[in-house]
Symmetry: C2
Subunit: 353 residues, 2 copies
DNA sequence: GCGAGATAAGTAAACGATTCCACAAAACGA
DNA sequence: TCGTTTTGTGGAATCGTTTACTTATCTCGC
């Protein structure tokens, strides 16, 4: 508070406003506003006086007041199932990197795959007047999201919405092709009894990856239906990976290879294999979708379809800001990121039976 | 928009305000506000009318306007070096879990150990009127943070500030004791040539862990000074871990054990050992500070001082909200979380030389 | 029955910016 | 020289709330 030398500062708590600056520079608040925002015209001489007053008073504009008037907060929200999941935080980092250059901030919310949490966060964020939302939805609130999408720019992250009236963009990996390639890899190694562990089929990611698997199996004449013996559906968590691996490997008729439909499932499965002394790839070949943190340092390096998460985040930030600038009045867009197979040592050729 | 059956909606963009509710319920806006906030007294009959109007109009209050008036946004910020680092996101999850029950949101910002980024984020957040900040500081802006701490509640996460005029709380692991115990463990196994890889010493975490190491070594009569041959200082990144391990292991006089001062350093070092075929623990024993994601799935399970990150986050949320409620007018507090040694298979007894 | 105190509701002033509008002064073209 | 446009500035409304203040009504003890 060195700017008040010799005077007693009456009220340090009250922060300096545009009024104080106007008074100090002996101009109107309108002029101060014009100087700050570089709008309208103002004489250089006055502008200097204002700038000087701003310096001396250490003034910075109040974003909240500005937001109220301009109806925009320069804040966007990122809703994910769990902010401590590296998958999402890497995407989040990509988003943040992109938007920060435009003066935007990121609010991050964990909705824990809970229908209620998702709804209540959406409500709260609408009240807070965030400028847009990037949403990895639970899949349980499609109607509400569709309605919201007409009031607020929304970009869907990785999970599509099953409704035609949705107004927004969608970014995802090429799930079908990624899993197709992984499965083909196993097929080429001679595997036929190929199991899979997937998440809930109402999520587009699960459904699309399932399709990739079916397509590949179809190419060798195997049709996947409800009676397919080597299938397990969980919820994209490590626990499901563990449980699924256990169930499939305890069955009389074991698969010789396993497709894990996301990295959490893979980690859970690896835990089970370690505990139960199942050797990878000697006893079982595995592949999985999505990058794994420090994958090369694991006791076995899984072959994966690797994804460009930072890139996805960056792209989603780009789409959302564009949508914000264009007042949400554009046609839906979809961006699909191709995956790249990254080979580890988790698969092995099998002699044809 | 089903609430306007049969009528033409003139302006869907303009959202419904407290005025509309007041008009619909035929009361004043003051009464509506009283109903919403449960303040003052209002006849049940009127309250009902208001509630009904709120329902029918699908009204939700505008947080920005409320924030302007009440000078609080129910938002707190979490500033970390990198939001994609699991260490921080786990803490973040703890914070979020605590604060969400009180209607608070979390803004997450990556400052990348950059002095400028930290400063500009702090400025931006002040303008946005966040109610408080949880800060894992770069260590380069102590004065600015001290000044800010008198205007805005601040809780420091894991990195202390070297200034007496700081006004806020501090939460950390017991760095000194954690490293002391880890080092003692190596000593008990017979190691004497114990190297370490640390972060920059201007960070309190680095300094405190260094002290733990020195204390332990002192107990066997070894004093650590600048000439200690088995030392490497980097920046708490995996790259530093890799580089440090390389340098120490390429020297003529190798250490027989290594203390890694955080988990990133440990992962980087593990990568080097894997590449250069150094067997752990046969060729080298290692220990490290802090949990490692999926530690048991690594090719070697490091012995670590494990930390309760969720708990730390939760505690920081608690301290910050308390500080907010008490208008930042309380004495500084410090909370220290004890660590727990979690044994892996990365250490081995050495025959006394 | 009447004044004091409680209760209930409304009016209007904030909060701190942006921006429309009015208007004065300067610049300009004929 | 006199309109007409351009430029620069200030006044005041506005954004959507909360809340201090006011006023009207009601309750109640004496």
């Amino acid at each position: 508070m060195h700017f008040n030398k010799g005077e007693i500062v009456i009220n340090t708590l009250r922060s300096v406003t545009i009024k104080d600056v106007a008074a100090a520079a002996q101009v109107s608040i309108a002029t101060v506003s014009r100087v700050i925002n570089h709008t309208g015209t103002v004489k250089p001489e006055l502008a200097d006086r204002v700038q000087q007053a701003i310096q001396e008073l250490n003034y910075s504009p109040n974003s909240v007041a500005r937001s109220l008037k301009t109806a925009s907060t320069s804040t966007i929200a990122f809703l994910v199932s769990n902010i401590s999941d590296p998958f999402f935080t890497t995407i989040g980092r990509g988003i943040e990197d992109y938007i920060k250059d435009f003066g935007y901030n990121l609010i991050v919310c964990s909705i824990d795959s809970s229908k209620e949490k998702e709804l209540s966060y959406l409500q709260m964020l609408k009240e807070k007047m965030v400028d847009g939302i990037i949403l990895n939805t639970t899949g349980f609130n499609d109607e509400a999201i569709c309605e919201l999408s007409h009031q607020l720019p929304i970009v869907l992250s990785n999970r599509r919405i099953n409704a035609s009236v949705f107004n927004g963009d969608f970014v995802d990996n090429d799930n079908t092709s990624g899993i197709y390639q992984l499965t083909q890899h196993l097929i080429h190694l001679g595997h036929r009894k190929i199991g899979f562990i997937n998440g809930p089929m109402h999520l587009s990611t699960a459904a699309e990856r399932h399709k990739g698997f079916c397509d590949a199996m179809k190419s060798i004449g195997i049709t996947i239906d409800d009676s397919y013996p080597y299938a397990y559906y969980g919820n994209f968590s490590a626990q499901s990976g563990y449980d699924g691996a256990k169930k499939l490997m305890k069955a009389e008729d074991r698969p010789t290879a396993l497709v894990l439909m996301n990295s959490e499932l893979a980690l859970g499965a690896l835990r089970y294999f370690a505990e139960s002394n199942i050797q990878i790839p000697e006893d079982l070949s595995i592949v999985s979708f999505g990058d794994i943190h420090n994958r090369e340092l694991l006791y076995v390096t899984p072959t994966v379809a690797s994804t460009n998460l930072m890139g996805i985040g960056y792209k989603m930030g780009e789409l959302l800001l564009d949508r914000i600038n264009r007042k949400n009045e554009i046609a839906n867009r979809e961006v699909c990121f191709v995956t790249q197979i990254s080979y580890g040592n988790s698969t092995k050729e099998i002699p044809a039976e």
